[in-house]
Amino acid sequence: MISARDLTKHFRVHRRPPGFASALRSLVHRRYEDVKAVDGVSFTIERGERVGFLGPNGAGKTTTLKMLSGLLHPTSGEVSVEGHVPFRRQASFLGKITLVMGQKSQLIWDLPPAETYALNRAVFDVPGDRFERTLAELTELLELGPLLDKPTRQLSLGERMKCELAAALLHQPTTLFLDEPTIGLDVAMQVAIRDFVRSYNQRHEATVLLTSHYMDDVVALCPRIIVIDHGKLIHDGDLRQLIKTRDPDKRVSFTLTRPIGDDELARLGALLVRDGQRITLRVAEREVPGVIGRLLGELGAADLAIEDPPLEDVLRAMFGEQRRAEAEAEAEAKAKAKADTEADAS
């Protein structure tokens, strides 16, 4: 079980504007800024759940994962993973978790993955027979056979990622932290990895926390998503629920077989996309049956499709809201400050 309460992380970042003068100045005096990477995030995750972390770049997802895996000390708040305090990095804790970072590799570059596996086995003190069995299972699931003896630098990105996953799972952890595991991979490989993660989760009842920029990863794999923006948790719950509450309208797409007037189209629903003869409208859920009836009947449209709004649009709207709210708050604060100084001056 994973639990986080009011988890917060501040960083001190050095700010330096471009230019020669400030380059010289930075030699002797540095200006630091306090950045709130994670701001009071709370959630509870039960054993065996698959949870997706979503958010724009710099939202605080990776920072949160690092705090959960013990790599970072929180500035404040409480966190507990499988009964341990992560940042103490006790050996028993480390043996239960694993972190896979899509952008960083733990495989030894010049040597075959098999050597890294041998090293990990020694480090985690995995007994011989258990190691062999785990390796065999992973080799089969991930189709690693021909890859194990080639030096890592000779593997393609996708092959390397599969070997990374295996390296991370040799000690059979019960909690998996996956930070952008499919970044840069082709679609087929993404699907393969998703399937693997799902099957591992089901076989071993392992908890999975996933961050990804690819919506498909999250939609396919995680029934529950946590949305983080600017360090704050703005949604935690069922994926389909999120879409329903945020954007209850459906997307109705069809191909025109004969021309339709704009006003007639407007009566059906709001126009979203017009690509030649292919049209996508936004239609309120309760009006959908009526619209379909009209499209199929008198208007003779073809290739009809009814879908939920894509997760991307929902999130973009959510982040847009967040940003607008913050911009408004900032503008208000500036205006107030200006008014105050003017009041003082007069």
């Binding site: 471009p18 020669f20 380059a23 010289l24 930075s26 030699l27």
Partner: protein, 266 residues
């Protein structure tokens, strides 16, 4: 890559080189300290010559020699070989090749830009110490004094070209560290960095012709010893000759390397 465009780009290249060298404060400090080995050698040799001169070098002579060597080393030291092999390994070299400035010029500009900042502390201090204390061993011939700066400039060019050539070897070999180390060992001995070349005895004759002498010892000899006028000619002529040779060699090696790089796909 026209000459005109290259010239116009130089000020910007210089400015960015400065920004780069200021980006990391601690590293900047370390660089100042790194090339201070002559001071350590000075400690050794003044100790050896404390009671009596060593092969006509008195303690004061050694002080003058190593201070001069420190100044020249600070002004001519560069790390372009390491930088190039890093760039090739990391893929940044491919980016450089796409730019309309010849990498030789680009690297040279950024190194030259760093010189004032790297040497801002050590060199003035050394110059003051040199002029102040070891003055009996320094030259007073105005012609030679006038030639010191051009000589240092030529020394810089030879050093840069040679290290550029070693850097270009990274196009051909995966690990050039060993060669760079060998270069530094040879440089230490034959450039006069470890000790004045005359002390090398029979080997000194060979050392007089090798390029290393013209990378450090030549300007130092100008600054410290008395020489006849025709020796001056041989000194500077040697620098010019080696500058031409190393420059040509570096560029040829570079071209071969780039062709191989492009053929292999980077």
């Amino acid at each position: 890559m026209t000459a005109g465009r290259t010239l116009r780009a130089l000020p910007t290249l210089w400015r960015i080189g400065v920004a780069e060298s200021l980006a990391y404060r601690a590293e900047f400090l370390v660089w100042i300290l790194t090339t201070t080995q002559p001071l350590i050698m000075l400690g050794l040799w003044t100790s050896v010559a404390r009671l009596q001169p060593f092969a006509q070098y008195s303690s004061a002579d050694f002080v003058a020699y190593f201070l001069a060597a420190l100044i020249v080393r600070q002004l001519t030291g560069n790390w372009v070989a390491w930088q190039m092999s890093e760039d090739i390994r990391s893929g940044a070299m491919a980016m450089r090749l796409l730019r309309p400035i010849h990498p030789f010029v680009a690297y040279a500009a950024s190194h030259a830009a760093a010189i004032p900042f790297r040497t801002i502390i050590a060199v003035p201090v050394a110059v003051i110490l040199l002029v102040g204390s070891g003055s009996s061993a320094l030259t007073s011939d105005p012609l030679r004094i006038a030639l010191v700066l051009p000589s240092i400039a030529l020394a810089w060019l030879i050093t840069f070209a040679l290290l550029f050539a070693i850097g270009a070897l990274a196009f051909f070999l995966t690990q050039t560290m060993a060669i760079a180390n060998l270069y530094f060992a040879l440089y230490s001995l034959f450039s006069g960095y470890l000790m004045p070349l005359e002390l090398l005895g029979p080997v000194a004759k060979l050392a007089r012709w090798l390029p290393f002498r013209f990378m450090l010892s030549a300007p130092v000899e100008l600054m410290t010893r008395t020489q006849h006028r025709d020796d001056l000619v041989r000194l500077l002529g040697g620098q010019l000759a080696w500058a031409a040779i190393t420059l040509a060699g570096a560029l040829v090696l570079w071209h071969r390397g780039v062709r191989r790089f492009e053929a292999v796909g980077g």
